[in-house]
């Protein structure tokens, strides 16, 4: 159907940074960050707002400059006189860009296409992001999801080798989010490398081959989503709350409970086998004469990994 994208040898590092530091006045946004993204993978930077994700991705995009550290993109460094050639090979979607509201979808894509030497026809790009019917609509008339797909379309006009997506689905409804995920999958299938930031763990689990969890400008965990979840030592979370005070010490020692966390409204137990832990928990509550007011269980997620590492939830601000 399409020409295959230029594919670097597998496991070549496409993006790499070492000891990255960025300070804004007294605030250290990025604090000695190391990162390596390999060809053909989708790599996620996961972390709460203010963790340093956007600063990191903008440094890799050559739009921001570190105070210290090394950055290489496709084997090259920014500011060595080859920036425009490097930009020919990258697709960039920024977090807050708003495109001109009074230009049509096709005019916008054609404008961005004109900045590059090579790339598909604008109509082909619109087909890929499923905006063909909207080609003559003004950008201002598009829904949030359509605007975001257009923004990605502008990043695809040059058939980039690397696609940068900074919180691509923040604020989108579930259906729009799924459409955007399909776009990223499509890009990956054609051999592209993706670096994305997100604070939605289900997005990272869905899209990313590997994830770096970032907090206070540092990588605090790195691996595939499955590896990170497995690092909890257990794959299920049982959360419960009771109406009266409870002595948690015996609960922690129940069979199969790996970790106990006191959350504002509930107690969360990370457990290996729910079918063993839950009856034991109920018996313990019975012994302490505590009445349950809620009990839920779920598979452990990257959110649980983050909470277990930092003691905070991703959406804590």
């Amino acid at each position: 159907m399409l020409d295959p994208l230029p594919r670097s040898a597998a496991n070549d590092s496409v993006l790499r940074c070492r000891g990255l530091v960025k300070r804004y006045g007294d605030v250290t946004a990025v604090d000695g960050l190391d990162l390596e993204v390999r060809a053909g993978e989708c790599f996620g930077l996961l972390g709460p707002n203010g963790a340093g994700k956007t600063t990191t991705i903008e440094i890799l995009e050559g739009l921001n400059f570190p105070n210290a550290g090394e950055v290489t993109v496709l084997g090259q460094s920014w500011g060595r006189g080859a920036d425009r050639d490097l930009r020919e090979r990258l697709g960039i979607q920024l977090q807050e860009t708003r495109l001109h509201e009074k230009l049509s979808v096709e005019e916008t894509v054609r404008l961005f296409r004109s900045f590059y030497r090579r790339g598909p026809d604008p109509s082909e790009v619109l087909r890929r992001v499923q905006l063909e019917e909207k080609r003559n609509a003004w950008v201002g008339k598009l829904s949030g999801g359509q605007k975001q797909r257009l923004s990605v379309a502008c990043a695809l006009v040059n058939d980039p080798e690397v696609l940068f997506l900074d919180e691509p689905t923040t604020g989108l409804d579930p259906q729009s989010r799924r459409q955007l995920w399909d776009l990223v999958d499509d890009f990956k299938r054609r051999g592209g490398t993706v670096l994305l930031t997100t604070h939605y763990m289900e997005e990272a689990e869905q899209l990313c081959d590997r994830v770096a969890i970032i907090d206070h400008g540092k990588v605090i965990a790195l691996g595939t989503p499955a590896e990170l979840i497995a690092s909890l030592g257990a794959e299920h979370v049982v959360a419960f709350s009771v109406e009266s005070p409870l002595d948690l010490e015996p609960v922690h020692r129940l069979p199969g409970v790996v970790e106990l966390r006191q959350e504002p409204r509930a107690v969360a137990l990370t457990v290996r086998q729910p079918h063993v832990a839950i009856p034991a928990l109920l018996a313990e509550l019975e012994r302490q004469h505590a009445a349950l007011s809620s009990l839920t269980t779920h598979h452990a997620t990257l959110e649980d990994v983050f909470v277990s590492l930092t003691g905070r939830t991703l959406r804590d601000e």
Binding site: E96, T97, T108, S114
Partner: protein, 349 residues
Amino acid sequence: MSEPRGLRRSALAQLALTRMLAFLREPEAIFWVFAFPILLALALGIAFRSQGTPRSAVVIATGAGDGALMRALQRSPDLSVRVLAPDVADQELRRGKALVLVRPGDPPSLIYDPSRPETRLAELTVRDALQRAAGREDRLELKTNTRMRPGSRYIDFLIPGLIGLNLLGTGMWGVGFPIANARQLKLLKRMVATPMRRGDYLLSLMIARLVFLALEVVVIVAFGWLVFGVAMRGSWPGFVAVSLLGGFAFSALGLLVACRARTIEAVSGLMNVVMMPMWLMSGSFFSADRFPGFLQPFIHALPLTAANEAYRALMNEGATFLQVAPQLGVLLAWCVVCFALALTWFRWE
């Protein structure tokens, strides 16, 4: 994979094209650029139209001898005379509906405000009429030629000023606003993330400006000519040169104003600070000569003063290209200095 050709492929052409489309899709912008100067010219042209030979209003207070005064003053074609009761006549003078009040007596007395040219004119006409009635004779017969000099009406003065004013407004806004807007929307940052040449972006703004500049100048000139008979008496190449250099000078000024400001509000404020002195002092609505002498070197260094003077010399006085060279020099200097500073200080993010 097809390769687009020609204009579709040129970043400069696409940037200029999208800029023009975006402008044409803003009805407010169209109004300010095209309709506003025409409406202004129409309103001022009607308000200050020539109404034949003006007559000065004079009142005579009733009293002994008012009949003789009336007959004497009515002989002058330049006066419109009424006889009113003394208190009413006083009131008319106070309200400015009469310029001179004549009180009968021996000799009659004239009451007027000597600080205004039109009351001085009325007073001199009254004096002349009374002296003639008393038997004074003209010793010297003067030849007069009362045909109007072309290009001397207020509208002739106004139209070139309006062209200059429009160049200032559209040049500054037409470049400053899109830059501030793109920076605020982070669109500028997004474009810097592509291999786009930064010079192409700035040049595209200038090209779009030039296209609309040609249109707006043609519209105002055609309007002045068709509706008020304001003609072009001088060099057309000179006129084109003033329009081009003026358009570029004001665009460069707009670029300079918008080169660092982060928000549209900041740019608007700066624009007004820069434009206000020129609106007032550069002689668009009234002659810049009215300002005191120590201000004149400053006023003549302003780009709008240069543009206005050049337009007036060309349109009303039939100046040649060389005669407007000093003004062209001033505009060129503004172009070069503003561009150089704007490009040095420009903030892309």
